[in-house]
């Protein structure tokens, strides 16, 4: 039995799992169980969900590099798309439910409040990534170009954490924890890339010595 069919359950399970928090939130909202200020609760919980999903998507490659497992690469796209939908839902709750579709209020917020601008930029940067998440896009763009484009997800992660950091009142422990996690993943990737370059250099030199 090959690897692919043995892991056939994985992606459907991740899709189902990422849908659960949306379902639970909707159910709680319908039951009036999001508290006295349900819009603020939904906004905060969707924001947190966005960061968690974004970080789990960003963790896939470092996890693969450190552990040698290949399954994280299979769930990366699903997690990234789930993160995009969480960010979109977070933004729509803010625009439609919180601000009552007041576009003037949105533009004023974007102009005057850096944390909203930073969050909005993250959403805008995610759009092309979500749109080119199909296999067909990889072929159409060619893998190197597609891969370069999708590197911007790291910038999205940084923007998300900065947005959160700027938003909290005084207790910055959670945004700092997210920032630390993100930095750790960057370090893993950086070290891995460095080792790869070094190995390639050594191999090239070995080839030279042989000739």
């Amino acid at each position: 039995m090959n690897q692919r069919s043995r892991l056939a359950w994985l992606v459907p399970a991740v899709i189902t799992g990422t849908l659960v928090p949306f379902g639970v939130m909707g159910w709680r909202a319908a039951q009036g169980r999001l508290g006295a200020n349900p819009i603020a609760t939904a906004l905060n919980q969707l924001g947190m969900l966005s960061l968690v999903l974004l970080c789990s998507c960003l963790a896939c490659t470092p996890l693969r590099l450190v552990s040698g497992w290949t399954w994280p690469a299979r769930v990366r796209r699903t997690l990234g798309l789930a993160a995009f939908f969480a960010v979109l839902a977070h933004f729509l709750v803010y625009l439609v439910l919180d601000q009552g579709f007041d576009v003037a209020a949105l533009t004023q917020d974007l102009a005057e409040r850096p944390f909203i601008l930073v969050g909005f930029l993250a959403l805008v940067l995610m759009l092309p990534l979500a749109l080119t998440s199909t296999k067909r896009s990889i072929t159409a763009l060619g893998y190197p170009a597609w891969s370069r484009l999708h590197k911007s997800v790291y910038l999205v992660g940084v923007l998300g954490v900065v947005h959160f950091y700027m938003r909290v009142k005084k207790d910055t422990s959670l945004p700092i924890a997210f920032g630390a996690l993100l930095s750790l993943m960057f370090v893993v990737r950086f070290v891995a890339a460095h080792q790869k370059r070094r190995a390639r250099r050594l191999r090239a030199r070995a080839d030279l010595d042989l000739t």
């Binding site: 039995m1 056939a8 359950w9 994985l10 459907p12 399970a13 991740v14 189902t16 799992g17 990422t18 849908l19 659960v20 928090p21 639970v24 939130m25 709680r28 169980r33 999001l34 508290g35 006295a36 200020n37 819009i39 603020a40 609760t41 905060n44 919980q45 969707l46 947190m48 969900l49 968690v52 999903l53 439910l97 919180d98 601000q99 009552g100 209020a105 004023q108 917020d109 005057e112 409040r113 944390f115 700027m166 938003r167 909290v168 005084k170 207790d171 959670l174």
Partner: protein
């Protein structure tokens, strides 16, 4: 004569490869269910970090200390006729950082605060004394005041407070003429207020008013709401209510009243002076650095409503600030 069952048609026979894959199928189904359930539960739990769900059960109303329920009447002269925010919302959606940084945390931990026995220290530009809270409450005829409460976070409530005007208490304490400000200090006790273990704010929480603000007939000392004593999360047993100012001016669980010559260094205006001023008068024209103060969400309503200058109490209090630059003195 009995007919034996006809042999199964060839199409009904499970093909051998499928038959042998039954175990594999069950294994995959199990992994699918376990992974999706685990991931779903984990994501749901993580998404409520920092904004936990409210407790399902609304708190019960405590009984008044001493003999029988408190007697009181609503003071219509100083009360709003707007629909009241529910008791459940007022007691489960709170900012009380000494208990928790979340909105629902104070309701879960409020029971840790023991409002009796309780004493109030009075000092500064006054004859110093220590007052028992029930002795103090018996000095006054309790009255109900329905006030709007506007949080600096752009949400608001309408609350039927029970208590007495601060002016009545100050007159009784007879501070000297040199008293220009009053400082209010919240209890410092990490056992009753466990989040004081965190070093986020310099505890204890300190608030203050100018003497003319403190003597204003709207300024109120609440000992209860909805006719019952305050719960821990609402600042039991003594809590300041200044309805034309943002809610954070209303010091909770007060243990000390100090009359001062100079403006007290209040907690929020010391730690984040660009966001929180000493005055903190509700003003739709002066935005918080991170959000607009032009409108607010009344708890229980979906659409935002415009915020009013001095929270709608301009006719009563605007004279206190005549000639003061409200943009600079926010």
């Amino acid at each position: 004569m009995s007919s034996s069952p006809s042999p199964p048609k060839p199409s009904e026979v499970t093909p051998q490869p499928l038959y042998t894959r039954r175990r594999e199928f069950l294994e995959q189904a199990g992994l699918f269910v376990a992974t999706s359930a685990g991931l779903g539960a984990g994501l749901t739990a993580l998404s409520s970090l920092g904004s936990a769900d409210p407790p399902v059960k609304p708190p019960e109303r405590p009984e008044a200390p001493g003999k029988g329920p408190w007697k009181f009447e609503r003071n219509r002269r100083w009360s709003s006729g707007e629909p009241l925010t529910s008791y459940e919302a007022i007691t489960t959606y709170n900012n009380f950082y000494e208990l928790s940084f979340t909105k629902s945390g104070p309701a879960e931990l409020g029971y840790l605060l023991k409002p009796r026995p309780w004493t109030l220290e009075v000092d500064g530009e006054v004859r110093p004394r220590t007052l028992d809270v029930d002795t103090l409450i018996r000095w006054f005829d309790l009255e109900e005041r329905v006030y709007r409460m506007r949080c600096i976070e752009a949400w608001s409530m309408v609350i039927p407070w029970l208590g007495f005007p601060l002016a009545s208490l100050i007159r009784r304490l007879e501070p000297s003429a040199s008293a220009k400000y009053v400082e209010f200090t919240t209890l410092l006790d990490p056992v009753q207020l466990p989040n004081q273990e965190s070093r986020l704010l310099p505890w204890p929480y300190v608030e203050g008013l100018r003497m003319d603000e403190a003597m204003h007939p709207l300024t109120f000392v609440a000992v209860g709401l909805y006719g019952s004593p305050l719960l821990g999360q609402n600042g039991a047993p003594l809590r300041l209510v200044v309805p034309w100012k943002y809610g954070f001016k209303g010091a909770k669980s007060i243990v000390r009243l100090r009359f001062m010559r100079d403006q007290p260094a209040t907690t929020w205006s010391s730690v984040a002076p660009d966001e929180y001023g000493f005055y903190a008068n509700v003003n739709p024209e002066v935005d918080h650095p991170r959000w607009s103060q032009k409108n607010e969400r009344r708890i229980g309503e979906l659409e935002r409503r415009p915020t009013l200058l001095y929270n709608g109490y301009a006719a009563e209090v605007a004279h206190l600030y005549r000639g003061l630059d409200l943009v600079r003195n926010y």
